[in-house]
């Protein structure tokens, strides 16, 4: 009985893993005299054959559906990436506008002294000739045409 168990393990192994030619011969010799193990081998072979006889049918448009989903996903991802880039560029442009404005204001204050401009006039000048144009330039990034538009 213990011997049969060993042979059955060997039979299982012969279907699942590589076994040596010697082991194969051993099984062959054993099943000539052992009906129990012979039946075991036949049933195992029959089980594996049976497993290979399952045929699953796919939905007819399954592949097309997947391709469509992937195309849509690619498109969405691409648009999302573009939007992220545009918003990042806008943030940088905005930052540069304010930093630039601060610098220009300092320089304009110095230049305004010889020509007797007061602070309000300098502020108005910087606002009209520097801050507003640079803000408009930054906002233009968000209003770019097509898929480069930051505002979806």
């Amino acid at each position: 009985m213990e011997g049969d168990k060993r042979f059955r393990e060997l039979i299982d192994r012969s279907f699942v893993e590589e076994v040596s030619e010697g082991e194969r011969q051993l099984i062959h010799d054993h099943i000539r005299d052992c009906d129990g193990c012979k039946r075991y081998l036949e049933l195992t072979a029959r089980t594996i054959r049976g497993l290979r006889e399952f045929t699953f049918t796919s939905e007819p448009d399954s592949n097309a559906q997947v391709r469509q989903i992937l195309a849509h996903h690619t498109q969405t991802t691409r648009q999302h990436n573009v939007q992220v880039k545009v918003w990042a560029a806008f943030a940088v442009a905005l930052l540069m506008s304010f930093v630039g404005t601060a610098l220009v204001y300092q320089v304009a204050k110095l230049l305004a002294v010889p020509i007797h401009f007061n602070t309000a006039q300098v502020q108005a000048g910087v606002l009209v000739f520097w801050l507003l144009p640079s803000l408009c330039a930054a906002l233009r990034l968000l209003a770019a045409p097509g898929e480069n538009r930051g505002i979806a």
Partner: protein, 173 residues
């Protein structure tokens, strides 16, 4: 994108079949297959072209299926085997069998009933070995388990299915 379309053409059917063995339900399998392809699209750069594509694909599908089943059957899973990721796959499906619909011979029909109640862990091992013809090393890669575990699952699965014939034949005469 064209390469991916070719892969879908080549593997979609087998992917759905694998997920069917794993989940035991057609609608889960179809949904998960779509999710798997999206994951492939997102993580394509992680695929190292030296190995076969199929095991990598099945491994992605398996992880998604486990997460999906975990969400679906969370309560049951925490009662059975809380710390084992594979625990989700030990839960047999109770729905009508897709295996009976796929059986193309009398023997396959006999096996269909057993397959439905067989724990998915064993079902997937049998599928990967005998239908996908994956090597044990490739199976180990898909299942994230050592080859000894893989072979033990195959043997247990085979034993459970073999009994369908043993009982059937003894009842028959």
């Amino acid at each position: 994108m064209e390469l991916l379309a070719d892969l879908v053409e080549r593997c979609q059917h087998r992917l759905v079949r694998y997920l069917l063995y794993l989940t035991g339900r057609r609608e889960y399998a179809e949904d998960l297959a779509q999710e798997t392809w999206i994951r492939v699209l997102q993580r394509g750069s992680q695929y190292n072209g030296r190995q076969r594509f199929d095991p990598w694909l099945f491994a992605i599908a398996r992880n998604l299926a486990i997460d999906y089943l975990r969400r679906k059957r969370k309560a049951v899973a925490t009662v059975s085997l809380p710390n084992d990721r594979d625990a989700m796959l030990l839960l047999p499906s109770s729905d009508p069998s897709p295996f009976e619909a796929a059986a193309r011979s009398e023997d396959a029909m006999r096996l269909a009933g057993r397959l439905q109640i067989l724990p998915p862990l064993y079902r997937e091992a049998l599928l990967l070995r005998f239908q996908e013809d994956l090597s044990l090393a490739e199976m180990a890669q898909v299942l994230g388990a050592p080859t000894t575990t893989v072979t033990s699952r195959i043997y247990r699965g085979l034993a459970a299915l073999r009994s369908a014939f043993e009982e059937g034949d003894s009842h028959g005469g």
